[in-house]
């Protein structure tokens, strides 16, 4: 450039034209460009724990469907399921109360009042389900089995998609995910032989899709322990093991597929995610809209 005397600093007010062409590009071009200013990089452990949260819900959902399959086969009696629920629920509820007392979003109510409210809700729900189970059983009885299976798959997928895994995405809707799961349960219940089966299926659905996610959420929020990731991973492993065993009872090829799927979700996906973080390329510069602090 013949105009060495003109400063290369970005300014418009000094008349540089026509000595310097307007399309001149100085050394200062893009000097304020910054890359990946606010990019958060995640370690493999955090990604695996977060994936575990999704996988826990997936395994719970599998366990629910497996219980239905086993009841349909006749291998599993509804009384056994109800007995299991009765045994599991009180200690898990105590754990829930314990975690809730440690979590930040404490309600104004005392633990006793909260527990009383929950018990009343449980009684009302149980009584209503018991009362309506003959009707619920025949509600979707006239629909063909294929349609029932398709609808169940559709609504359980919706449950998986809209479930609250602890992130803040626009797609998350607790009420929609719970409703779609309960509807899927009612669809399935019509294929089972007795009203007791229907009652069991709906109760199990309420346990798996309403109470169990709340307990897991409270455990991740309320437990302030350095071992929290380990606990979360342990729970994921236990649930996975249970679902894997149940799958073996139903069909061996399905069990193999499930094992492969578990490996893919819990190992390959997090590794891919962590490896692909290197590809993050976010550019910032003076053209960004300023944020008022």
């Amino acid at each position: 450039m013949h105009s060495g005397s003109i400063s290369h600093r970005k300014c418009l007010h000094k008349p540089s034209w026509p000595e310097r062409p307007d399309n001149f590009t100085g050394d200062d071009f893009l000097e304020d460009l910054k890359r990946n200013l606010y990019v958060k990089r995640h370690s493999l452990l955090t990604v695996v724990v977060a994936t575990g949260r999704v996988f826990q819900h997936f395994c719970s959902l599998c366990l629910f469907v497996q219980a239905y399959c086993l009841m349909l086969q006749g291998t599993l009696a509804p009384e056994t399921v109800l007995f299991g629920l009765g045994m599991l629920a009180p200690p898990l509820y105590l754990a829930y109360l314990f975690c809730a007392s440690g979590s930040a979003d404490k309600s104004d109510l005392s633990p006793m009042r909260t527990a009383f409210g929950h018990c009343r809700l449980l009684l009302v729900l149980t009584a209503f389900t018991l009362m309506w189970s003959p009707l619920l059983k025949s509600l979707t009885a006239t629909i063909s089995t294929d349609t029932i299976h398709a609808m169940t798959a559709f609504f359980l997928t919706a449950n998986l998609l809209f479930h609250d895994y602890g992130g803040s995405a626009a797609i998350v809707s607790k009420s929609f995910s719970l409703n779609s799961a309960v509807f899927a349960a009612i669809c399935l219940a019509s294929r089972l032989p007795s009203s007791l089966h229907t009652f069991t299926t709906v109760e199990l659905a309420l346990f798996v899709f309403a109470f169990w996610p709340e307990l897991r959420r409270n455990m991740s929020v309320g437990l302030h322990s350095p071992f929290q990731p380990v606990l979360s991973l342990g729970l994921t492993f236990l649930l996975n093991l249970a679902a894997q065993c149940a799958m073996c009872f139903i069909s061996m090829p399905a069990a193999c597929c499930f094992l492969l799927l578990s490996c893919f979700i819990m190992l390959i996906c997090p590794i891919m995610f962590v490896a692909m973080q290197a590809q993050k390329n976010n550019i910032h510069g003076p053209w960004d809209e300023a944020v008022i602090h």
Binding site: K10, H13, N23, A290
Partner: protein, 423 residues
């Protein structure tokens, strides 16, 4: 800029079509830019037409209108559907735009604003018809969200086939080069200008409407300086100067700005300017004429306090007429529309001198190399469809049968002086 030989320029008259969705009666920076640039180019001896879409409730303003000094405006009967932009149908605007371009014997098409769908489409049509194109980008854009990714890809496709690009500031040039993946030598920086002497002709939209205005109003309330800081919002253009000179300080709180004519207008009226340090704003005024603050309430308040303190040093606690005059004098000659027109003309000549129309094969191949593996093919398909449509239109309405438009005889036009001729 005395060393430009005006005779040389007039010898090479071109007909330039300015295209944008944004034009009078709409108000804003782009509209002002197009109007002033067109007037100055006319006074430099070129013929200029403006192509925009129909305006008005029942699109009463459509068809051809003549503006001052024989500026011909085509209000094409396309309806705006979002934000004053026409529906981006890509191909459907071609028949009418082709008619206008051939009828007016247009030699160069100049599109304005990346938001304008009409400008983007017309640039494609002009290239299909073998005309050189120039594009002016008036705004800044981010990179982080989905909408900007899509818009930037679109800009990438349009600009990869545009001969030259003009940006209003260096920041805007960097932004456009990154967004459209262009070689920076294809981008010229030509700042906006203001009409420092004849405010009654200029349409101003002072920054300060919308959500940002609320922030500023809160700040003003909190500091209790309502009598010192004037908030204009949208002021009728002939009253802008009257509003500005009533104040002492001009406060601009934009969060992003490619050039910012508002601070220039403030400074030109002799006001002490306090502004957020964002986008291209620090490039506009020399540092002794502007106080730059970080874009937050405390920093802006500090800048404002300093400006107030400076004002209070005057004998009656206000800035003196000499101060206003001195500032006006120092700003008035920096940014003139005539300068903008001369520099833009340089770009036009550069584009026209680059040789005849590029072979179509090269144009099409360029999409594939410049726009990526997926986007390139999509743009290529549209370019091919456009070519096919031009071929079909040539059969239905041969270019030879489109009668040329009337060219006004400049000597017979009522000789109204323009801002350019005054200097």
């Amino acid at each position: 800029m005395g060393d430009i030989n005006d005779k040389d320029v007039i010898n090479k008259k071109i007909c330039i079509a300015m295209v944008s969705d944004f034009f009078f009666p709409n108000m804003g920076g782009v509209e002002t830019h197009i109007y002033q640039l067109a007037q100055c180019l006319i006074s430099l001896g070129h013929r200029v037409i403006v192509i925009t879409h129909a305006y008005g409730k029942n699109s009463e303003r459509r068809g051809v209108r003549w503006m001052m000094n024989g500026l011909k405006v085509y209000y094409l009967p396309f309806l705006p559907f979002y934000n004053q932009c026409v529906l981006p149908t890509v191909l459907l605007t071609l028949p009418l735009v082709r008619q206008v371009l051939i009828r007016e014997r247009v030699g160069l098409v100049h599109g304005h604003s990346a938001f304008s769908a009409l400008a983007n489409q017309t640039l494609l049509h002009a290239r299909t018809l073998g005309l050189p194109t120039v594009f002016t980008d008036h705004s800044l854009f981010g990179f982080a969200d989905v909408s900007s990714i899509l818009t930037n890809k679109l800009l990438n496709g349009i600009l990869s086939d545009t001969c030259h690009v003009i940006c209003v500031s260096h920041t805007s040039k960097e932004n456009t080069a990154l967004r459209a993946m262009l070689c920076p030598s294809r981008i010229s920086v030509i700042p906006n200008a203001i009409d420092a002497d004849r405010h009654s002709d200029v349409r101003f939209l002072i920054g300060g409407d919308g959500p940002k205005r609320l922030v500023l109003e809160e700040l003003r309330e909190r500091l209790g300086i309502q009598d010192r800081v004037l908030l204009q919002g949208q002021v009728p253009h002939h009253q802008v100067r009257a509003h500005l000179v009533r104040g002492d300080i001009f406060l601009n709180t934009s969060l992003t700005e490619a050039f910012c004519m508002a601070i220039l207008e403030g400074a030109s009226c002799g006001l002490s300017v306090v502004s957020t340090n964002v986008g291209g704003i620090p490039e506009v005024l020399p540092s002794d004429l502007i106080r730059l603050a970080e874009p937050d309430a405390t920093s802006l308040a500090d800048g404002l306090e300093q400006a107030i303190a400076e004002c209070r040093q005057g004998p009656d606690g206000r800035r003196q007429p000499e101060d206003f005059h001195r500032l006006h004098e120092s700003v008035r000659d920096i940014y003139t529309w005539r300068n903008v027109a001369l520099r833009t003309e340089c770009v036009y000549r550069r584009v026209l001198d680059a040789g005849g129309p590029e072979p179509t094969r090269h144009r099409l191949a360029n999409y594939l190399t410049a726009c990526g593996p997926v986007g390139g093919k999509i743009f290529l398909i549209f370019a091919l469809l456009n070519l096919a449509l031009v071929w079909l239109l040539q059969l239905l309405q041969p270019a030879e049968r489109i009668e040329p438009g009337i060219v006004p005889d400049r000597s017979k036009l009522r000789n109204r002086s323009t801002p350019c001729e005054e200097q």
